[in-house]
Assembly symmetry: C2
Homo-oligomer: 334 residues x 2
């Protein structure tokens, strides 16, 4: 198996990207192509011990910055690490593409070069949302804003395939994100998608559990939670914001007196454990589902552990033949 | 000023409702009518010292339960504390209605009996969202799911009036909740509302600051954050769920070893401080804006402090003549 890794993806590129790729090559035995500025990538590789022969470098003269307009950047920077990397997958020279770079650009380049799996209405971006009971997949978190009910239905199918493959859950619970549990809740698109998914659950093995509310995401009342990209993005970002606010508040209040500071120091292992439980780096990035290739996009803030885990997830996606599973899922049965 | 308080609203009714009403009458000098089962309300009053003469009781034989279907309950239970209380406001016998009961029923009864302020497309439910920098108003959090751009524009106007009156902010920052800060972000309704609000900011004094993301709610990048009721509800519930998950996780990890337990005990004042900063009971319930009467709806879990604060907010809303402010805001200028 050969995985292309964007060496110019993360905010601190290329160090975490290269280090994570080397660690993944050693840990998982996959071949890795690092795509990016060859001189910088080779300089980074030269610093590392244990670089296996499975690592190769493919030069790309340009890089897409985080702040660039996605579609424009993809169109104008044909020699960027993002475009060159995705082209490798398109040509069949590699099995998957992994990048910690500009999410919108990865999305645009994937749709442009890899195109959709036949039958897919719209590709969607999923994210593994960490909870105390393990991760659940929230899909879509930003690829599509106004969604038709059939698109939401397909997000459910694609998300279910992914969770089945990557989290190895045999019968994932699939739910729609709504403003109440009752079937009558939801906006018009969600209500219509509810009917489609209920129907689908009767005709296929889909384990559709109905609607869940925002508070049910961290309570992990479902393994796959479906929303349009506008709503999913707001839920995800609100969750991130609340975690940050609570973390900052607790830290600053603990520091505010000597006694609580001592208490905080003693309680530190507990805080670290909580941090570890909710650590996004464990979950290896966000899959872009529905395009004709395995694409995993990580956070710009990713460290080498996050990069390594994204590569693990890409490998698992390829092994489980997720593209074929999605293709079958979205093909209307005869 | 006379405020009607639903004595049969909270989960532990009538104790917190009655106690909160008595405390508010003493603290703010308002007349209060407690509406509910007269015998139970009088029994509760008999237990309290310092019940001022400003407190009266109005009998209502029925009560609406939390789990009842809102519209049906309002239609069928004409002698419920909710309906009888709102009718007092309708008749002009009281200035405001406060309830910790079924939100949907309060909404339905308010729209049915009080009707809309002329010019208002749809009443909306706001909620003061606690952050480290003080509360911001999220509106709508569930009254309307699929919203037209003009409705969102009015939510902004109504929310701005409320925040100006109750939080006494002279120039509240008004934002749309979206999946990115850029003007090009948002679903179709939000993009269209963005154009309307931008226009409005040019012609009136509205301080429209553009789009904010989910993470910007707890960061309080705006004082009034506008969303349709589907999205606002999901953001609010996700925030509640994340707070609960983090709280539960930290507690359980701290208890997991003797050393961290000691640390946790020493750090307790810091945790309590954080809890107090984010205490929803301080903010006095959710205003229903756009109906022709002041209606404040609190959480079923409210204690007497939350009830007292909801009455304070109702008083402040009446004093500031919020209905007239909203009426003027939604009237197209000649």
């Amino acid at each position: 198996m050969k995985i292309v890794v964007d060496a110019m993806g993360s905010d601190k590129r290329p160090a975490p990207d290269v280090q994570g790729a080397v660690d993944a090559a050693n840990a998982y035995g996959v071949e890795i192509v690092l795509v990016g500025d060859e001189a910088r990538v080779r300089a980074e590789l030269a610093r590392l011990p244990d670089v296996p022969a499975r690592i190769s470098v493919l030069h790309a003269a340009q890089e897409i910055e985080m702040r660039e307009h996605p579609a424009r950047a993809v169109k104008e920077k044909k020699d960027s690490s993002m475009v060159v990397g995705i082209e490798q997958v398109k040509r069949g020279a590699a099995d998957a593409f992994v990048s910690m770079g500009n999410t919108g650009a990865a999305l645009a380049a994937s749709v442009l070069y890899l195109q959709r799996i036949p039958g897919v209405h719209r590709p969607a971006l999923g994210v593994l949302f960490p909870t105390a009971q393990g991760p659940c997949l929230l899909i879509d978190v930003g690829a599509n804003t106004d969604c038709k009910p059939e698109w939401l239905e397909q997000f459910a199918i694609m998300g279910e395939s992914y969770v089945r493959a990557v989290l190895e859950l045999p019968q994932p619970r699939v739910a729609l994100l709504a403003n109440g549990e009752e079937e009558s809740k939801g906006n018009q698109a969600v209500q219509a998608a509810h009917a489609l998914l209920k129907q689908r659950a009767q005709t296929t093995g889909l384990n559709f559990v109905g609607n869940v509310e925002g508070k049910d995401i961290p309570a992990r009342l479902a393994d796959v939670i479906v929303a349009d990209g506008f709503v999913g993005n707001i839920a995800l970002k609100t969750a991130e914001g609340i975690s940050k606010m609570l973390n900052d508040l607790i830290r600053s209040e603990i520091k505010s007196s000597p006694l609580t500071a001592v208490g905080g120091a003693l309680a530190m292992p507990a805080f670290n454990k909580v941090k570890k439980i909710l650590d996004y780096t464990e979950y290896g990035g966000a899959p872009l589902l529905g395009v004709n290739g395995v694409v995993i996009i990580g956070h710009g803030r990713s460290n080498e552990v996050a990069v390594k885990n994204a590569i693990r997830v890409a490998k698992r996606s390829v092994e489980s033949n997720i593209l074929e599973t999605i293709r079958r899922g979205v093909t209307p049965s005869a």
